[in-house]
């Protein structure tokens, strides 16, 4: 049974096939114009049972009802279905069960087989159960000692009522526009959208060890479902004035935007459905739970915007808006009080000068030169709809009744985050439009950052949302594009972009000047003067080779019960920055910054007659990545399959190595968050190669046929040890640069044909 040599990733990942069809029809006459597009795509993922399909339909039409009245009608529908499983590594691997097939395929022991052996010792086609080779040594909490068969999660979890995600969106909009005279028009854009999402989750019984739910009893399987619906109604009524006076041209637009959003989310789940044939919610589930939110919010924006230009040389534009939202606190600090509500006032202005249009401009070789500067003062409204108010929430009590407790005290001065941004740029083209250069500089300061603020202990509550702290972000993006060869048959265009930014936290709310956040084993430091997302951990300096070396160093840590625990031979040498011989939080320091120094892409497009080759490279330099996945694959803390690097772990007195000894549960914390797991995430990646050929056709029915073949993610040049340095774990600032082994987009090859009728 234990004589196999299984590469589990072979069983979990597979080559995938993708198909994509689309059709676009447009037409019309004096009365009506229309554009209809329909598309369908379906794709298998490289991880088995993760296929995806999408159907979408869009109709746009313009109807002239009267000479001065037009109505635009837009409708769209999309339907996405996806089969999915847990992905990535959880926050704490010891907490509950590991259910991500991708991660399981890495840590599952190779001496096991995915298929069971029958009583005669022959390999059967039945999937093997969760492993149990450790059950005699680690009897308590079996799920810590046993890993699920990832194929069981994939196969037994496969059904529409098991693991399935569906999203359907309908958008409808009607926009009548009344032209009053040559200068004035009035429009009303009425929009309605409905967005439905439902999701089923099922973790099977067979092939998966039993597990605990937050220190309750042991359960066999889990079922959960989610249903969400968002309905938005909006109305945008505006008047437009457009006039030309000699060389002056003015366009002014003003109106009122009203929108109403309601969002409903319900989740429910439970454990022990019986068996894998009955993956249903029912009243007999153990530890059932339901959860949800219901939000309604209303926004109103009065706005006015104007554009002006003088003889197509001097451009100016400005906009003003007054925003009211039910999400703002009634006493919002920067708000104007109108009625019982606080309104935010925002504005922006921009000016541009097309220097090359000046009569006196006569620089040889420069065809076009435009300078622009701008300033804006904007706010966001990404605030939870309840945060500004005091509310109570009901909780279960004693498994038989309900207790209602105060859960939030309102921050009536809660408001938007304010960003002041200054931009300046230059765009030019030269050498008879064969060289294009663009450079844009920006600097912005966001203040009133929304953050969870620690409340006074008198409230009996821990935090509420408040505004505080500020962030500065300065950078530039530059682009250079040149047509290097431009002969009759041969054309070659080469381009590059480069972006750079530097963000810095300039102040924090309250009277703190730093705080830390724990995420996926990492500690993220938020501190005045540092970039957002800074990694904060221990520095290491190799491994103690001998007991005498360790004893001479005399470095220890304190246990939960306050006893000194000395680092010995084979343990990491953590750097005792504080100098008290005790490795503790005082020794933590900045060990990495996930923000890249610069990043961008390089493109090349070479064509010979009708044959064309396009290349797109991405690159990023100087950003650090915390390789959470490697910290588990080389941590030596659990009975998980490890990488071959672990062959060099410390094993005998005197061994010189930089990988510490393996130790179950790692009581010395050798695999803790330290610079061992911080890697340089710089890379250059060939993102896409496309070769296409345009077949010459001359026909009334057929306008063009293009044949193409392309490859994605062909190669990456990097020192990074994880699977893909170009990934994003979360949109949150704090999760930046943490690789938790999410399913990375694989290498793909496509062939296609495009027919224009």
């Amino acid at each position: 049974m234990y004589h196999n040599n299984t590469d589990w990733t072979d069983h979990v990942y597979d080559e995938a096939f993708t198909q994509n069809y689309s059709m676009n029809v447009q037409g019309g006459d004096d009365v009506a114009n229309y554009n209809l597009s329909v598309g369908y795509a379906s794709s298998d993922a490289t991880q088995k049972y993760n296929e995806f399909s999408r159907f979408n339909l869009r109709l746009n039409s313009d109807i002239t009802v009267l000479r001065n009245l037009t109505v635009r009608f837009d409708a769209s529908y999309s339907d996405v279905n996806r089969n999915m499983r847990d992905d990535g590594i959880k926050n704490n691997v010891m907490d509950g069960i590991i259910s991500s097939p991708g991660f399981l395929s890495l840590i599952k022991s190779p001496f096991l087989s995915p298929y069971a052996y029958d009583t005669n010792g022959h390999l059967s086609h039945y999937l093997a159960d969760a492993d149990d080779f450790l059950s005699d040594v680690l009897p308590a909490r079996s799920y810590r000692a046993s890993l699920a068969n990832p194929l069981a999660i994939l196969e037994y979890g496969e059904a529409d009522n098991k693991n399935d995600f569906g999203n359907r969106v309908v958008n409808l909009a009607v926009t009548p526009k009344l032209i009053l005279n040559r200068n004035w028009s009035i429009s009303e854009h009425f929009g309605f959208s409905i967005d439905n999402t439902d999701e089923n989750y099922y973790l099977p019984t067979d092939g998966v060890p039993t597990f605990d739910v937050e220190r309750t009893g042991t359960v066999e399987n889990k079922v959960a479902s989610l249903a969400a619906r968002q309905i938005s109604i909006s109305s945008n009524t505006y008047a437009n004035f457009n006039k030309r006076f000699g060389a002056n041209r003015v366009n002014v637009l003003g109106g009122l935007l009203y929108s109403h959003n309601s969002y409903n989310l319900n989740t429910q789940g439970g454990y022990n459905t019986g068996n894998d044939k009955t993956p249903n919610m029912n009243a007999d589930l153990e530890y059932p739970y339901t959860n949800g939110t219901e939000d309604k919010d209303i926004d109103m924006i009065y706005y006015l915007q104007g554009d002006y230009n003088f003889s197509e040389k001097y451009f100016a534009s400005a906009s003003l808006s007054l925003n009211g939202s039910s999400r703002f606190g009634v006493d919002a600090k920067d708000g104007m009080k109108i009625g019982n509500y606080a309104w935010g006032f925002f504005y922006s202005a921009e000016a541009a000068w097309l220097m090359s249009s000046e009569k006196w401009f006569n620089v040889k070789g420069i065809d076009y030169l435009k300078l622009n500067v701008g300033f804006d003062h904007v706010g966001n409204d990404d605030i939870d709809s309840k945060s500004s108010r005091t509310y109570f929430v009901s909780h279960r009590l004693l498994d038989s009744t309900t207790g209602k407790v105060m859960e939030n005290i309102g921050n009536t001065s809660l408001q938007w985050e304010t960003t002041n941004r200054f931009t300046a740029g230059i765009n030019l083209s030269a050498l008879h439009n064969r060289l294009f250069l663009g450079f844009n500089f920006f600097t912005s300061k966001t203040s009133n950052l929304l953050s969870l603020n620690t409340l006074s202990y008198l409230t009996g509550l821990y935090t509420n949302w408040s505004n505080g702290g500020s962030l500065k972000n300065t950078g530039f993006d530059a682009s250079l594009r040149g047509r290097i060869i431009n002969t009759g048959d041969w054309k070659w265009e080469l381009g590059a972009t480069m972006g750079h930014y530097k963000n810095k936290i300039t102040s924090l709310p309250g009277n703190r000047n730093s705080f830390t956040t724990d995420l996926y084993g990492a500690t993220i430091l938020t501190k005045e003067g540092l970039a957002a997302g800074t990694f904060y951990g221990y520095k290491t300096n190799g491994v103690f080779a001998t007991t005498s070396e360790a004893e001479a160093a005399g470095i220890y840590q304190l246990t939960k019960t306050g006893q000194q625990q000395y680092f010995g031979a084979g343990d990491m040498k953590f750097v005792d920055l504080y100098g008290d011989k005790c490795i503790s939080e005082a020794d933590m320091t900045v060990i990495g910054d996930p923000n890249p120094d610069f990043y961008g892409n390089i493109t090349s497009s070479l064509s010979y007659k009708r044959l064309r080759l396009d290349l797109v490279f991405n690159y990023s330099v100087g950003g650090d990545i915390y390789n959470y996945q490697r910290s588990l694959l080389e941590g030596g803390s659990y009975f998980y399959n490890q990488t071959t690097a672990m062959l060099h772990r410390w094993q005998y007195e005197g061994q010189q190595t930089d990988i510490p000894r393996a130790s179950y549960l790692d009581t010395m914390g050798n695999s803790r968050f330290s610079d061992r797991w911080i890697e340089d995430g710089s890379y250059l990646k060939l993102k896409n190669v496309t070769l296409s050929y345009n077949i010459p056709v001359r026909s009334t029915y057929l306008q063009a046929i293009t044949l193409w073949g392309s490859a994605n993610n062909l190669f990456t040049i990097t020192k990074y040890l994880g699977s893909d340095p170009e990934f994003s774990m979360t949109n949150s600032v704090l999760g930046m640069g943490i690789d938790r082994g999410l399913h990375a987009p694989g290498r793909s090859f496509s062939l296609g044909v495009k027919i224009n009728l």
């Binding site: 009344l178 509310y391 109570f392 209602k404 407790v405 939030n408 008198l458």
Partner: protein
């Protein structure tokens, strides 16, 4: 033209409706403060349950803060750093047991209820909310008392804080325990006769025991306020309430035979929360999944979660006190056929030293050896303290009330009556026989017990719960050498303190009892000396002693 006016009307409508409905956002899953108006009976029930939910959070602390910092328990090598800090009076702001916020969470919810519930709403001429109102007022008073006992001077307010501005610590006066006690005596005294709400069984538990007896709480507050006569009166009235008299009962742990070879105990059953001894407990969830569970088990007992290494155990001081007691038994002399009083001889070989002297400690704490251990991580010696109950934390029980009644009587100037609570138990004939006439006259109603409710059949001296027939013990007396009343009172108070140690160990009362006596006697050393010698006189901790001479060091740091 028609179309134009239609569009104008449309845009106007959009504006109008926007203006109107900006206020009407709501959510069905939360209840906004302005909607929480207590106009339905169910509002008030769920609010009381919500307060209980918050009480669960501080439940373990009511035991640990009073017990681990006292002189009756000591920590084992397996205790957490947090517990160690408590025991040494060195708890930092980060200590898990130091969080005043959780007490204020109870207070906030109580304040909100008290501010909003309308007791004037009547149904069939009965106030709809009055019963809950009384319950919530007593929870608030009790929680403030806990807060002041653990934190010294604490910000005091009785209105709900609904905005951050109102939650500024500097806006409120800081009250110490005396000020808190004086305020709440006044605040709850009108509710002594208000009935408890009747929710019957909640989660399989008798819900009337979720509530705090108002008279008992008033007794406590009066003790802290130094109003001893009133304290004694409240305790007395609580114990003798017409139709609900609470005699102490005769449960005890005793030697079966005059050879002192076998022990029988009906004492442990008192700690079962269904026993009449238990007056109030905080109900705890059974599983973490459901909410807050009690971890007292993991501190005091050997459990799977602590690998069978209990973190706290009896202190040497408690063990010494227990074995220094004298057990007395009345037997009939086979020769003379006359009753005789005997005690275990000094030479008696006990099964365990815990059997020496008072038997309560012996029966409350048991240790056994596990036959084999599956891994070497597990302790082979397993401790169980029977007072630690599953899924509830007791905060009031009858034995405590009797001892505090004695404490109040003594300081009110009735030391003989107080001592009689320990030695004889009070009922008409013992009052008559053992309380001197001048005390009886002065005490008046304080010593009135109905002969129909209190008799030798249902009353014993508390000392008899572990020391046999205490009323026959000729050494358990107020020494006749003491003639000054003040000396007698001090002597009796020391005996009451010893009795409290024997009766209430591991229940979380100890630190506060030591504080009460030390403050009363203006003698910080009284507390300091006892706590510093918790591990026996030979292990006196001088540093701890010095620290505890300063009253402010008794308290946890308020953030």
């Amino acid at each position: 033209m028609k179309i134009r006016s239609f569009i104008y009307a449309l845009s106007l409508m959009a504006t109008m409706s926007a203006v109107i409905s900006c206020t009407e956002t709501d959510s069905s899953l939360v209840e906004f403060e302005e909607e929480n108006n207590f106009d339905l009976p169910s509002d008030t029930v769920y609010s009381v349950m919500g307060i209980i939910k918050k009480m669960q959070v501080i439940a373990d602390r009511t035991v640990l803060l009073g017990e681990i910092r006292g002189d009756l328990t000591t920590l084992t090598d397996h205790a957490t750093t947090d517990l160690r800090q408590l025991a040494n009076f060195e708890a930092t702001a980060e200590n898990v047991y130091n969080n005043a916020r959780d007490y204020y969470a109870v207070i906030q919810n109580c304040n909100f209820y008290i501010a909003r519930a309308d007791t004037s709403i009547k149904k069939r001429n009965q106030s709809v909310f009055l019963k809950e109102y009384a319950v919530v007022k007593s929870y608030r008073a009790w929680t403030y008392m806990q807060l002041a006992l653990n934190y010294g001077k604490v910000p005091f307010f009785t209105q709900p804080l609904l905005t951050e501005k109102e939650a500024d610590v500097n806006l409120y006066p800081k009250y110490d325990i005396k000020q808190i006690a004086d305020f709440f005596i006044n605040d709850i005294k009108d509710y002594v006769d208000t009935d408890y709400p009747s929710y019957s069984s909640v989660g399989g538990m008798n819900s009337t025991r979720f509530f705090i007896p108002v008279r008992a709480l008033l007794g406590d507050l009066c003790l802290w306020a130094g109003r001893y006569q009133e304290a004694a009166q409240y305790y007395h009235d609580y114990l003798t309430t017409t139709g609900n008299a609470r005699p102490i009962g005769v449960n005890a742990v005793t030697w079966d035979d005059k050879q002192f070879s076998h022990v029988t105990s009906s004492y442990n059953t008192l700690f079962n929360r269904t026993n009449a001894e238990t007056l109030t407990f905080i109900p705890m969830e059974e599983e973490e999944y459901d909410g807050t569970i009690s971890y007292l088990d993991d501190v005091f007992n050997s459990t799977e979660d602590n690998n069978y290494y209990n973190q706290a155990t009896r202190s040497q001081a408690l063990t010494d006190l227990s074995s220094a007691q004298r057990y007395t038994m009345i037997i009939t002399d086979v020769n003379t056929q006359l009753p005789d009083t005997i005690s275990p001889p000094d030479s008696l070989a006990y099964e365990t030293q815990l059997q020496k002297g008072d038997l309560r400690l012996y029966t409350v704490i048991t240790t056994r050896s596990a036959a084999s251990s599956t891994t070497m991580d597990y302790s082979t010696i397993r401790q169980t303290i029977s007072k630690v109950t599953d899924n509830s934390v007791t905060i009031y029980r009858l034995g405590q009330i009797y001892l505090r009644y004695a404490e109040a009587l003594n300081r009110a100037g009735y030391p003989n009556a107080a001592f009689a609570v320990l030695k004889y138990g009070l009922y008409p004939s013992t009052v008559q026989q053992y309380v001197p006439e001048e005390e009886r006259t002065a005490a008046g109603d304080l010593l009135t017990f109905s002969q129909y409710q209190f008799s030798r059949d249902n009353t014993i001296g508390i000392h008899s719960r572990g020391c046999g027939t205490a009323n026959a013990d000729t050494t358990f007396v107020i020494p006749s050498t003491l003639t000054e009343k003040a000396d007698i009172i001090e002597y009796v108070e020391d005996r009451i303190m010893d009795e409290m140690a024997l009766e209430e160990c591991f229940e979380g009362q100890r630190l506060y009892e030591l504080m009460r006596v030390a403050l009363r006697r203006s003698d910080n050393a009284y507390l300091a000396r006892r706590i510093a010698s918790r591990d026996g006189a030979s292990n006196f901790k001088d540093e701890l002693y010095q620290r505890l001479l300063t009253e402010s060091n008794w308290y946890l740091p308020l953030e």
